[in-house]
């Protein structure tokens, strides 16, 4: 699959959404992606990075135009700063502790708030003991531009299912694009290569924070370095880079 950039003179085509010449192409702000007047679909769902101006759908940020059947399109880019959106999994640090909630830094424009009851088995008597600086793995349950983002440490059924306090370990920052690649399926080549020869725990937040834990500090350092290096490498290069790192550790 070859990524192509959208040509300057490319025009939205009539007919089905899937046949749009912009799908899977890289677009820039201001590009007219779709002309709804020429489109023969009843409803269209626009995601991030797109806006509608009368009959035209226009990109507002640089990235790849993604499409999911039957009618969802959005622009996916790689940024350094995170903007919260619904159902994202994020890693945050506790900043403040209030009577009913924790204030959590999730790397967005504003701090998020996490209710003390949104932990598995939490009651008024049994409040999780988190201090400022604690690392949490959460999901975003409310994201609206006029409100502080609301977070939760339980899934929809009230179970922890992986969310919660991340004890020990090491957290580092990467771009949102790399974080998305680490979470995507099939497994990211760098994680695949690391997983074959090392045992470690990892949690990836879509806000570009990655938490790594392992039995030995050297493993944590190796895994973190490998992931940070992987940002600008292709699949084959990633495997090679991991092998080199492993060799260096075994020699010393």
């Amino acid at each position: 699959m070859e990524v192509e950039t959208a040509q300057e003179d490319l025009k939205p085509a009539p007919g089905q959404l899937a046949s749009s010449p912009f799908i899977n192409k890289i677009v820039a702000p201001g590009d007219i992606v779709l002309d709804l007047a020429q489109l023969s679909i009843p409803t269209l769902r626009l995601g991030g990075g797109l806006r509608q101006d009368q009959d035209l759908v226009i990109a507002t940020k640089a990235g790849r135009l993604k499409y999911i059947k039957p009618n969802k399109i959005w622009v996916e880019g790689s940024q350094k700063r995170y903007i919260p959106s619904l159902e994202d999994v994020v890693i945050g640090f506790v900043v403040d502790r209030r009577s009913e909630s924790f204030t959590v830094d999730i790397g967005g424009p504003v701090h998020g708030s996490l209710s003390i009851f949104l932990f598995e088995g939490a009651t008024r008597r049994n409040i999780p003991n988190l201090q400022a600086g604690s690392v949490l793995y959460m999901r975003v349950v409310k994201a609206h531009r006029d409100m502080t983002p609301e977070l939760s440490c339980v899934d929809a059924t009230g179970k922890a299912s992986g969310f919660g306090h991340l004890k020990n370990g090491y957290v580092f920052q990467c771009s949102t694009g790399l974080a998305r690649a680490l979470l995507s399926r099939p497994t990211c080549p760098v994680l695949e290569a690391l997983g074959k020869s090392l045992s470690f725990e990892i949690a990836v937040g879509l806000n570009g924070r990655v938490w790594v834990n392992a039995a030995s500090v050297s493993t944590i350092i190796l895994v973190s370095n490998a992931i940070m290096n992987a940002e600008f490498l292709s699949a084959a290069q990633q495997q090679l880079m991991v092998q080199k790192l492993l060799q260096r550790v075994q020699e010393s």
């Binding site: 820039a28 702000p29 201001g30 226009i58």
Partner: protein, 246 residues
Amino acid sequence: MALEFISPEGLRLDGRRPAEIRQLRANLGVIDKADGSATFEMGNTKVIAAVYGPHEVQNRSQQLLDQALVKCEYSMANFSTGDRRRKQKGDRRSVEISLVIRQSMEAAIMTHLLPRTQIDIFVHVLQADGGTRSACINAASLALADAGIPMRDIVASCASGYLNNTPLLDLNYLEDSGGGPDVTIALLPKLDKITLLQMDAKLPLEMFEKVFELGNKGCVAIANYMRNVLLENTKDLAFARGVVKV
């Protein structure tokens, strides 16, 4: 005797034709710490821009409830001009240029999507050879796009002037100080809207129209270049992420 700005062969002092822009060069993501950054070169003019944000508003009293607060700071390096001199921050010229850059970027940013936040734009002139405000707008525009801030369009800017009875595009320092008018335009190319138009001299209307038309064309050419740089950079990032299989 007044300086000959155009030779009998129709070439300018630096060898360009009247309707020719200087060589452009742009790089994205040049500052590690910033959320978005870019350098932009137009010939010998070189500027660097950094964007921080959207983040929480530093001064609560300035917070806007329905849109983002955009701040811009323009500065020149001491070594950017021919004679090295120490300029203090906040002189009239840099305050004015900060203002025009802010206004032309604010017109492109979809500020209503990011209420109660602040976006900081810093532009620094590394090398000045005329057209610094155009170069700054172009650099700021690319830096904003790099930061992923929602924009209606890429803003492109270009200057044009009128010397020796000829409209000239993209003036350099010598031409800029030739005493003729200097028209700076910033354009939203896809929407075909002007976000900045400045002129600091008098010019008859029919000549102004020619100069304006020329400047407009220059903006479109620069916008095309900027768009290509941005697309290439985004493509590199997509490739790097392993989205693309070769």
